[in-house]
Amino acid sequence: MSTRTIQGQKNLQDITTGSKDGIGGSPLRPDGTLKVKGEFAYSSDMWHEDMLWGMALRSPHPRANILSVDISEALRTPGVYAVLTHEDIPGTKFYGLEIQDQPALAIDKVRYHGEAIALVAADHPETARRAVKKIKVEYEVLTPITTEEQALNPEVHGYVHEPHEYKSHGSGNICHSQRLVFGQGVTDEVKALADVVVKGEYEVGMQDQAFLGPESGLAVPAEDGGIDLYVATQWLHVDRQQMAPVLGLPEEKVRLTLAGVGGAFGGREDLSMQIHASLLAQRTGKPVKIVYARDESFFGHVHRHPAKMSYEHGATRDGKLVYSDVRLVLDGGAYASASPAVVGNAASLGNGPYNIPNVRMEAIALYTNNPSCGAMRGFGAVQACFGYETQMDRLAAELGMDPVELRQLNAMSEGDRLPTGQQIDSPAPVAELLRRVKDMPLPPPLDLANLDIRELPGALSNTSHGEGIVRGIGYSVGIKNVGFSEGFDDYSTARVRLEVIGGEPVAMVHTAMAEVGQGGITVHAQIARTELGVEQVTIHPANTEVGSAGSTSASRQTYMTGGAVKLAAEAVKQALIEKGRKRYGWTQTDLDLVGGKVVSAAQGSLVSMVDLLGDEAIDLTREHHHRPTEAFDKVTGQGFGHVQYTFCANRAVVDVDVELGLVKVVELTAAQDVGKALNPLSVVGQIQGGCTQALGLAVMEEIIVKDGKVRNASFTDYLIPTILDVPPIPVDVLELPDPNAPYGLRGVGEAPTVSATPSIVAAIRQATGIALNRIPVRPEHITGTL
């Protein structure tokens, strides 16, 4: 390492950006220049003089008792500084987001393929890798619990967690369940009102977040006995809250700073290497860096819940929905992670953006010995959307109706009630969004005479010259909640400082928000400019020195931390104006900050902010809480559970090679209501990115798990869409303000990932006439060679 001359940490510094663009504009990203120069310090770029490399030994078995662990040979390896097992943990041994059921290092047993058992710190990653292989573990291998049938029969197949193992365990292997009854539920009387009934069983495979920047970070032991951790995460404070008890430290001695994050999509909500690197740093007294290889990344984070769903819808002959009867079974894997909240979302949103007078629903998450599942973009709403949208198409076919018309006929709008009983109190333009995608111009029809064959399914593989290609079109719409739900006190904190630097007023914004690529820091600068009338804004690195920002998930950060920045900036503005009132005796009530000046609407400029501020800085911190929500009733599922809803509609055009089963999405259109586009360029980017992950789920992305073992933990075998797989994605952005949200905005990032998948499958179905009740759709499903 001696020739390395720079330290990654040098880039974890203030980033100053200047622009005239406030909200509604599209200024360039403050971190963009560093990123295109290769100078942006991602968590895997962290470096420290004299640092060690950490690595974990992971279980090859999904379920086994650990009989013994022998670390002696690994410890003797030259270059190895420490080898740790659960016995070396100074504090509590378990952690978890909602239920503390996950050991930081396995104790006595392993519950999933890839569970961490021991840790090594060494002077070179290869030394660590070799030492890991020298740890000898003796296992008693057990038959894993991997199916719903096994999990629901613990007397026969056993428990993933023995009931005595921790207090908050559900019943049997059920991690969490939520029932819901709306209207009269599903009774014989209700069923008799339906002229047409469609029933379907649907299945969703296990999708991975597959962010490009692997889990990584650097833990540095501090002189006060604490730990300084530089890490890529989605929520610094909840990491700290889970880490400190395990490290045996008070929270104030565990200090986290956000290092550059290479994508997240929910996969960084749970801890990965945070505790491991910190334990090794505590033990060795040296900085320890851990960077996951791609296979370890697949083992080291939770995935999207695979689901088995049963849907029954009844409707009148003219297409009005009468009832729905739904059961959703989500495989939560070995540890709870966010499963309880995912279940709540699936149950409350699992009937889609439709008015259905009578609903019965049950959603459960199971404990199994499959990989743990938790948060991923769309969070419980994605799986259900594939179910209810497939049902809508089938119902339309049954009734001989246009599928878009059927959806519009039943679409909810402002003032309607969800099956949870909650009234929608902001715009819900479901029918309008469907109309918009339907009205957008279609791509030109397939013209075999003038075609570049690289544009056909199979693309560059030269598998077809157009024979056997059929085109289909499909539609879908989805609903997603914004922010944390079910009574959670969701809040965010922001500190805004205004001072004169270099003869100019400069605003500084300091939050603990994880910028994971979504562009939150760009928006924060825009908000500060809008509220304070300045051009220069400095973004301070996110860390635990300021209050919690909550998670960068649930499409909540622009709403929540953006809202906090707005509140803090408004407070700074009022303080500055107050200062002017005291100094100059202003009595006007129409004062504002514009263009670096204090301005009266009637009288124009009064004084420059530079003159008014002088050498003083105004520095204020504010918290933004969204209005309270409440828990769903356990039995009926009723309650004001969500703070905001967001809707997206899609149209997919696909070409299918019916002989080879290959699919090429030709175009994927999206229409979404964003309330107010704070940054139109970013909004469109989020919608296109969200649609692309939905495309991945529709036709290629799945972690293959067989008997509890992961079979494709690499980018060679787990396929995410390339630029050849992704078509043009025209986006129509609607802005109908939500009166309850800052600036009227609506969360953006997740809705397209919820809604777009079914449109693609519907288009393949239209092209082929095959039912396709499981995603991802594979070539063998289309050719019938399964």
Binding site: G38, G260, G685
Partner: protein
């Protein structure tokens, strides 16, 4: 072993290089050029793309010893000597093609190489050329915009120079 090569026009040397180390590891951990990213170590994602003697390669698949006395150009080398951003770099920022940015260094090198050999590529040419570079954030639409923008700027610049 000791490996000496040229990185972005400057001679560099790395000592105590283990035979199994990749060019990517040497660039990132030994010679202070962490711009190239490591996301898969299998040549599947393209995040580590660098020029090796003028040809784009996945530096994770190149053994460090293979670059002895050869020329490497990384994303850091796309910035002008003056510190000004290169045309492709600026186009990616302007088009909104950078989100988390982890794929960006590899895409920049690959795009630079594409426009060197084909200044006005068709959309299908662009897709073919960039199909070895995964991006998980953008949906690629803004990347397409960025490459088209860079192509237009490059042609405009060439036209002005004539």
């Amino acid at each position: 072993m000791r490996v000496t090569f040229t990185a972005n026009g400057k001679p560099v040397e790395a000592d105590d290089v283990w035979e199994g180390e990749s060019l990517l590891y040497v660039l990132r951990e030994r010679v202070g050029l962490p711009g190239s990213k490591n996301a898969c170590e299998q040549g599947e994602c393209g995040s580590c793309t660098v020029y090796l003697d003028g040809t784009p390669v996945c530096s994770c698949l190149v053994a460090a010893g293979q670059v002895q006395d050869r020329e490497v150009r990384t994303v850091e080398g796309l910035t002008e000597e003056s510190g000004e951003l290169g045309l492709v770099q600026q186009s990616f920022i302007d088009a909104g093609a950078v989100q988390c940015g982890f794929c960006t260094p590899g895409l920049l090198v690959q795009t630079d190489a594409l426009l060197e050999r084909s200044p006005q590529p068709s959309d299908t040419d662009i897709r073919e050329a960039l199909s070895g570079n995964l991006c998980r954030c953008t949906g690629y639409e803004k990347i397409m915009d960025a490459v088209r923008l860079a192509s237009a700027r490059k042609c405009q610049k060439a036209g002005a120079a004539e």
